[in-house]
Every structure is written in structure tokens, then in C-alpha cells.
């Protein structure tokens, strides 16, 4: 804006005012908060994270160590964390797509009365924090034989279990917590998608004499594909980000790493051991894993190129 630099001091304020509220500049001012937060709080940390991952950062001493952090990443603890995370992602993705889908299909049919109340009751768990929810499950599945989990076990004729101390039950506890908190949310996604399916498709099918099963198989399920891709992608990514569901049962360290997740490992090493460079390297590896898996997943489900999911 060269001409403004020559403006006389008197009109300068006015000119700046006019400049700032001109239609060309206003959008940039509106976008400014995002630009600042993106540069300072996303772009800078992202770049810095990559730089940090090549460094050893100790109080007062920072030195470049090349790929040493990355060489250390692939150790037994990391494999434990990766294995737990993958298993957790598998179970949560299975349960949190199939169950909410089925519930939504039933709930959307004319058979079910009191829809709002059912929908709301299933959603209420999502309102609790993972910490509060996890604490409830921790108390329900405590070691005591009179806790709910063990009471149910004795009901089917089995003895009390130390839920938090063996690998299978530990995974069960984490998956159940996530399943309980997220089913209601995913149910809402499916209900919204079901309401978008045009009623006339079903009317046409009725005229053609289709059975309820045919309608489900040929109309409902295919129309739910985009939302299923959306829900499962989010669940997979959230699964790889999982931390709290483990922290609430075992804090930072679990017996035999049964509750260790990748983010938990980042926290343990980066914050607990104060080894920021190593923690950053695990973060970069996690980013690469998530990127590869979501690309493969979206490729398999045919989301690229069709532009039908967003």
C-alpha cells in the first residue's frame, strides 16, 4: 500500500481505518487468530518436534544425536505399547461401528417407542470424563469378591478375578470403558445418517415386494457406508491416541506393560523420564503409523477420488 505511506498525518488514521475495513483486508483479519494459532501452536511444534527427535535434551545441555533416538525407539517396551494399541484399536473399531449401527437401525424403525429417552440414556456416558468413567469401572472391577465384576463371575460359577493384573482382563477393562463412553456418540452419527436415506427408496422397495431383510441389505447398509467409514476412521485414530483409558487404571506404569499404549509410552519417557528427544521420536513414529494406516484404510474403503464422505 505505497500510496498510504505518503498520506498526510491528518487523514492517516482515517485511511488506516478504511484500509482495515476494506473488503480485501477484512477476511485476513478474521482469519488472523487461526493463522497465529496454527503457526505458533501447530506448525512450530510440528517442526520443532521433528528437530527435537534428533536431539538429546537434558537440562542445560542439548546435543544432536542423529538417529540415535529412533534406533532406541524399537525396543521391547515400544513393541508392548504398539501391540496393546493395535489390539485396542481392533476391538474398539469392531465394537464401536457394528454395535451402534445395529442399535441405530433398530432405534430408527417404527417398532421402538420412547426413542428420545433411549438415545439420551445411551449418550449420557459420553458426558462423563474418562477419569470419572474409569474410576467407576475400576471400582466395579476391583479385586474384592463383592465388587460387581466378581459378583457377576460368581453368578456364572467362576471365582474372583484380579482384573487389573492380567493382560486379557486389562485389555477388556480398557475396551469396555471406551465402548461404554462412545457407543452413544456413534449411535447419533448413525441415526443422523439413517434419517438422510430417502423414504421413497423404501416405498419403492415395498411396491417391488421386498422383504425387511432385502431392504436392510440392499438399501440401508449400502447407504450407511460413508458414515461407517467416517466413524471407523475416527475410532481408529482415537484408538492410536489412547492414553487416559490406561492412565485411569494404572497411572504411568502397569504390571508387565499390560496397559502401556504408544501415547502412554511418550508420556512415560518424555515427561516421566524427562527424555524429551526420545519422547518426540516416539511421537514422530506414531505420526507415521497413523498416516500409513489411515491412508491404507481410506484407500481400501474407496474414499479417495469419490469425494463422497466430506
Amino acid at each position: 500500500m505505497a500510496e498510504q505511506a505518503h498520506a498526510s498525518p491528518k487523514t492517516k488514521n482515517n485511511k488506516i481505518g478504511a484500509f482495515l475495513s476494506s473488503k480485501k483486508v477484512v477476511p485476513y483479519i478474521f482469519v488472523l487468530p487461526f493463522f497465529l494459532s496454527f503457526s505458533i501452536l501447530t506448525l512450530y511444534p510440528a517442526i520443532n518436534g521433528i528437530i527435537m527427535s534428533f536431539r538429546q535434551i537434558l537440562p542445560g545441555v542439548v546435543e544432536n544425536v542423529g538417529f540415535e533416538n529412533y534406533a532406541r525407539v524399537f525396543n521391547l517396551n515400544f513393541y508392548d505399547a504398539l501391540w496393546n494399541t493395535v489390539i485396542y484399536v481392533f476391538w474398539t473399531t469392531m465394537l464401536l461401528t457394528v454395535v451402534p449401527m445395529l442399535l441405530a437401525i433398530f432405534l430408527n424403525s417404527k417398532t421402538i417407542k420412547l426413542k428420545t429417552i433411549f438415545r439420551a440414556s445411551l449418550f449420557v456416558p459420553a458426558l462423563t470424563s474418562t477419569i470419572v468413567g474409569g474410576m467407576i469401572f475400576r471400582l466395579m472391577f476391583s479385586e474384592s469378591s463383592s465388587a460387581i465384576g466378581n459378583q457377576l463371575m460368581s453368578l456364572i460359577g467362576l471365582g474372583p478375578i484380579e482384573w487389573r493384573y492380567s493382560a486379557i482382563t486389562a485389555m477388556f477393562l480398557m475396551v469396555v470403558l471406551a465402548f461404554w463412553r462412545w457407543t452413544g456418540v456413534n449411535l447419533l452419527y448413525y441415526l443422523a445418517a439413517l434419517q438422510n436415506i430417502s423414504e421413497s427408496l423404501y416405498e419403492q422397495a415395498d411396491i417391488d415386494g421386498a422383504s425387511a431383510w432385502d431392504k436392510l441389505r440392499l438399501i440401508t447398509i449400502p447407504h450407511l457406508k460413508p458414515i461407517t467409514v467416517f466413524v471407523s476412521t475416527i475410532t481408529i485414530i482415537n484408538g492410536f491416541r489412547m492414553f487416559e483409558e490406561s492412565f485411569v487404571y494404572w497411572e504411568a506404569t502397569s504390571p508387565g506393560n499390560i496397559g502401556l499404549t504408544i501415547v502412554g509410552y511418550i508420556y512415560q519417557q518424555g515427561v516421566g523420564q524427562n527424555d524429551l528427544g526420545f519422547g518426540a521420536a516416539i511421537g514422530v513414529v506414531l505420526m507415521i503409523i497413523i498416516f500409513i494406516i489411515s491412508t491404507i484404510y481410506l484407500g481400501i474403503t474407496g474414499t479417495f477420488g469419490k469425494g463422497n464422505n466430506k
Binding site: 511444534p45 510440528a46 417398532t111 421402538i112 439420551a120 477419569i131 519422547g279 505420526m287
Partner: protein, 277 residues
């Protein structure tokens, strides 16, 4: 017909049971918050409850002696309020600009929004933590709130919503001599009311339940938010179970009330990202 009717009843009963199972942990928590904490510590949450032992003791204790708890509560309220106001206001501004204006770099900005939505925060948290330490912001409200000030999900949501705003109103206002800020604050911002409510609730919920980031940057007990504070009470010794249990109930109640009052906004806010657009 009667066979169909009995099937219908069966389906409704089944759904009733499912709803009860979903609500059961919360009901169990509320009931046991009236139990002596020593019993809870010894037997966990149990089906066998001695109803003669129920009392208000835990709540009496939390309201009279658990000063820490109320410090956390206040911190959570302050942090959530700041987050709601800043994130809804700024995200709305950004989303609005991306929807109604044509300007250079617009698509790049939008791609960046989508990009942040996809980069998990956990990957950025260590460098961010280092940044906060360098700026000497650790253990402050600012450190907790900063990463939430502009929420990419909310920007995306507001953009989708603003695409449906009546743009004729803007031209009419320009002819009347209103400038662009006037158009936004006096005309468009109020028109976005329902979407503002939806995002306020979702951002508030996220801030209220936020855990990992506050856990990193908050150091001292009197800066803790509720989830962090409650997590410190989860010791195997059970010496704090009175505050833990009654305190958990008291953190859920405001959210549940909010949910019951604004259910439709909750639904709108959640489903907009995935289904529309």
C-alpha cells in the same frame, strides 16, 4: 398380528435393558456416593448394598472440609469458561470468513484447518510442552487454554453453517453503509445463534473433561483441574474415597443438566461434522 405385537414388546423391553445397562455405572456411582468410603474401599462398587448405612457424610465432608476439591472445581470452571468464549468466538470468526469471503489463500487456510483436525494433539504435545516451559507459562491457566483457543473442528463446523447464511443481507447492509465488522457482529453473528450454542456446549464439554494436556502443564495442586485432581485421589490406599466418589458425582451433574436442557444442540453439533457438508 398378536405375534407382531409381542415381538414389538420384546424389542422395546430389550432396548429398555440396554438403556439401563448404559446408565447403570452412573446410577451405581450415585448410590455408592452415599455409602461410607471405608466400605467402598473394601468391596468396590457392589450389587449388595447395605441401605441402612447410606448417609450424606461424604457430601457433608466435601462441602465442609475438602478445600482442595473446590479449588479444582473453580479452576475447571474458569478454564472451561475462557475456553468456551475464546474458542467459539474465534472459530466462528474464522469459519465465517472462510465461508462468505473470496480471498487469496482461502483454500490454503481451509486445508490447514483440515490438516490440524487430522494431526493428533498427542504428537505435538512434547514440543508444545517445551514451548510453554520456555515461555514460563507452565502451571498457568493460559498454558491450558492456549491450544484450545481456535478449535479446528469448530472452524469446520462454523464454515459449513455459514455457507447457508443469507448473503443478500450482507449486500443490503453494505448499501446501508455498514462496514464488514458491523455486518459480522450486528447481523451474521446473531444469525449463527444455534450453531454457537452447539459449539459452546461441545467445546465446554471437551474443556471440562480435558486430561492429558493439563496433566502435562499443571504442576501444583491448587492449579489442578477436576479430572487431574480426581486422578490424584485414585490411590490404592483409599484414603480419599469420600471426596473421590462424591466429587465425581458433583462433576457429572452440571454436564448432565446442560445436556438435558440443550439436547438438540448437542445432536446438531456432533452430527454436523460427519454427515452434512
Amino acid at each position: 398380528m398378536s405375534k407382531k405385537k409381542s415381538l414389538m414388546i420384546l424389542a422395546n423391553v430389550a432396548f429398555g435393558i440396554i438403556a439401563l445397562i448404559a446408565l447403570f455405572p452412573i446410577i451405581a456411582l450415585i448410590i455408592s456416593s452415599f455409602q461410607p468410603s471405608s466400605v467402598l474401599m473394601r468391596q468396590g462398587l457392589s450389587f449388595s448394598i447395605d441401605f441402612s448405612q447410606l448417609s450424606l457424610d461424604n457430601y457433608r465432608f466435601i462441602f465442609t472440609e475438602a478445600d482442595n476439591y473446590w479449588t479444582w472445581y473453580t479452576n475447571s470452571l474458569i478454564i472451561s469458561s475462557i475456553t468456551i468464549v475464546t474458542s467459539v468466538f474465534f472459530s466462528c470468526m474464522v469459519g465465517y470468513a472462510l465461508a462468505v469471503y473470496e480471498f487469496k489463500g482461502k483454500n490454503l487456510f481451509f486445508v490447514c484447518v483440515l490438516l490440524i483436525m487430522m494431526i493428533p494433539f498427542e504428537i505435538l504435545m512434547l514440543p508444545l510442552y517445551e514451548l510453554m516451559a520456555t515461555l514460563r507459562l507452565t502451571d498457568t491457566y493460559i498454558a491450558v487454554v492456549l491450544p484450545l483457543v481456535v478449535a479446528p473442528v469448530a472452524v469446520f463446523f462454523f464454515r459449513q453453517y455459514a455457507l447457508g447464511l443469507p448473503l443478500e443481507l450482507m449486500d443490503a447492509a453494505r448499501i446501508d453503509g455498514s462496514n464488514e465488522y458491523g455486518i459480522f457482529f450486528k447481523i451474521m453473528f446473531p444469525l449463527m445463534g444455534p450453531s454457537l450454542a452447539a459449539m459452546a456446549i461441545l467445546q465446554g464439554l471437551a474443556a471440562w473433561n480435558n486430561f492429558l494436556w493439563p496433566l502435562l502443564v499443571l504442576r501444583s495442586n491448587d492449579m489442578f483441574t477436576l479430572p487431574i485432581g480426581l486422578a490424584t485421589l485414585l490411590t490404592p490406599y483409599g484414603n480419599n474415597y469420600d471426596v473421590l466418589i462424591a466429587g465425581s458425582v458433583l462433576t457429572i451433574i452440571p454436564i448432565v443438566i446442560l445436556f438435558i436442557l440443550f439436547q438438540k444442540y448437542f445432536v446438531a453439533g456432533l452430527t454436523s461434522g460427519g454427515v452434512k457438508g
